[in-house]
């Protein structure tokens, strides 16, 4: 089970605090996995008592905008654009709110990473970074799929540069494997457009394992050196944007994309995990 308690002496409205926590959680605790099991008790709470704020300071707040209305560019008056009920969108505009948003997200990421470093039986801290041309959701799901793979995690424990298992985990990501005409539009993740590299924690040159579907000549000695380190990053490049043919390019088709990046943190899976959990209840 994951539990977390965060306290600050800044002055923040309850609704803003809720927004900050949910935003930070999406980029921190919801991006870690040790064993793929979601607990019945996971809770992270945050408290803000304003004790350090000057008396004159207004509480940090965020603005909530209603997406069902928009401001007409001509008249300036709100116009209803959709009858469908939609969730209100929160816009963080105030500089104090922006600053706290950044502080809390980084703080919660640091806390979440401590949990991964203490994974039961873990010997490695693994960052999985996935870049997609199309969708943050795609990138997040692929990262999650890799982070949950027992075979990827045992290979990391055994210091085996088994990139085939990483590809396998990408391939069965929900939404990729199941993509159909009405499924998620992430069906352009193709083996021949996928690349995988190990990024060493010491800042030395990356080890490319697969480049656009083509396996690279892997220096096993170098791979072993990288996998001996406690910290390791796996970089996956999906290149899943639209395929633009030469003819389309001549017609002026745009190929530029905004890369979306998701990061997940996980650990390896060792014998010790089984030992700890084989008799946890008793």
């Amino acid at each position: 089970t994951l539990l977390g308690i965060v306290c600050t002496d800044a002055k923040i409205t309850p609704s803003a605090l809720d927004t900050f926590l949910r935003r930070a959680n999406r980029k921190s605790f919801n991006c870690i996995s040790i064993d793929g099991d979601t607990s019945t008790n996971d809770t992270v709470s945050i408290f803000a008592n304003g004790a350090a704020a000057p008396d004159s300071a207004a509480p940090i707040d965020v603005e909530v905008s209603d997406p069902s209305t928009s401001v007409s560019p001509t008249s300036g008056s709100p116009t209803r654009v959709s009858s469908k009920p939609q969730r209100p969108r929160t816009t963080i505009l105030h500089p104090d709110a922006q600053a706290f948003d950044i502080v809390l997200t980084k703080f919660m990421q640091d806390l979440a990473q401590l949990v991964v470093r203490d994974g039961e039986g873990a010997t490695k801290f693994v960052t999985i970074r996935v870049r997609s041309d199309k969708s943050l959701i795609t990138a997040h799901r692929v990262a999650e799929s890799i982070a949950k793979s027992s075979l990827v995690k045992t290979a990391l424990y055994g210091k085996d540069a088994n990139w085939g298992r990483i590809l396998c985990a990408i391939g069965y990501t929900p939404g990729i494997m199941d993509a159909g005409p009405r499924g998620l539009s992430i069906d352009q993740v193709l083996p021949e457009r996928t690349s995988v590299s190990f990024i060493p924690a010491d800042g030395s040159a990356p080890l490319h394992l697969l480049v656009q579907g083509e396996p690279q000549q892997v220096d096993e000695t170098r791979a072993k050196e990288i996998l001996e380190m406690e910290d390791l990053e796996i970089l996956v490049r999906l290149e899943d944007g639209p395929v633009v043919g030469e003819a389309a390019l001549k017609r002026g088709a745009r190929v530029g994309t905004m890369t979306k990046e998701a990061v997940y943190w996980t650990c390896d899976l060792s014998h010790e995990y089984v030992t700890i959990n084989g008799d946890y209840r008793t």
């Binding site: 002496d9 309850p14 064993d35 979601t38 008790n41 304003g50 104090d96 039961e120 084989g278």
Partner: protein, 225 residues
Amino acid sequence: FHTDLQQIRHYSAPGDRSIPAAKQKYVPTSGTYPKGFQAGTAHAGVKASNTKYDDITMVVSDRPAAAAAVFTRNVFKAAPVVVSRASLSARNRAGQGFRGVVVNSGCANAVTGKVGLEHAALMARETDKCFDSEDPSEPPQTLVMSTGVIGQILPISKITDAIPKAHAALGDSHDHWLNAAKAICTTDTFPKLLTRTFTLPSHPETEYRIAGTTKGAGMIHPNMA
């Protein structure tokens, strides 16, 4: 088949809860803690085998504080999740603040039916009493968390006996916070505690503080909202 019972290894946490040498670097030796917050711990012996270590933790504010939380999306939400979520919803709707949180380790109070809900609510009420502000007609101003074994009933009297002791032990030193971080642990090998200071653009001369503790080592794949 050849069955070899020697292959079965049993786990036993270090008796002295010593921190592995490789993990020492993650445990802070000092910190800058937010004003108005205190942490306290006490021993309840929630897990019968724990005869020594604190397993009740309280983190409180000296004044009503804004509060928020994210909870597991697992359908089988534990009793403290259900109770805390209801308290947050009710008090925030009414514009009421919170005083803090009480946590027990050793038993998750999950899949424990109605009695589990009663126990979680009682933990919150008993903590409220420490602030001399218990009002049964109002939702509790304390959030509740539990962690440990699923499917076992909380030894609630041990916990309610320990809550005033945890309150009496409140303090704002680094050791108080570190003890709180230790007391929420289960199979964790080291306490997880961080502090930071920051400023805000509107009052750059004012230093604000943020502190946090977390626990978790197994059954970790959070999906909270």
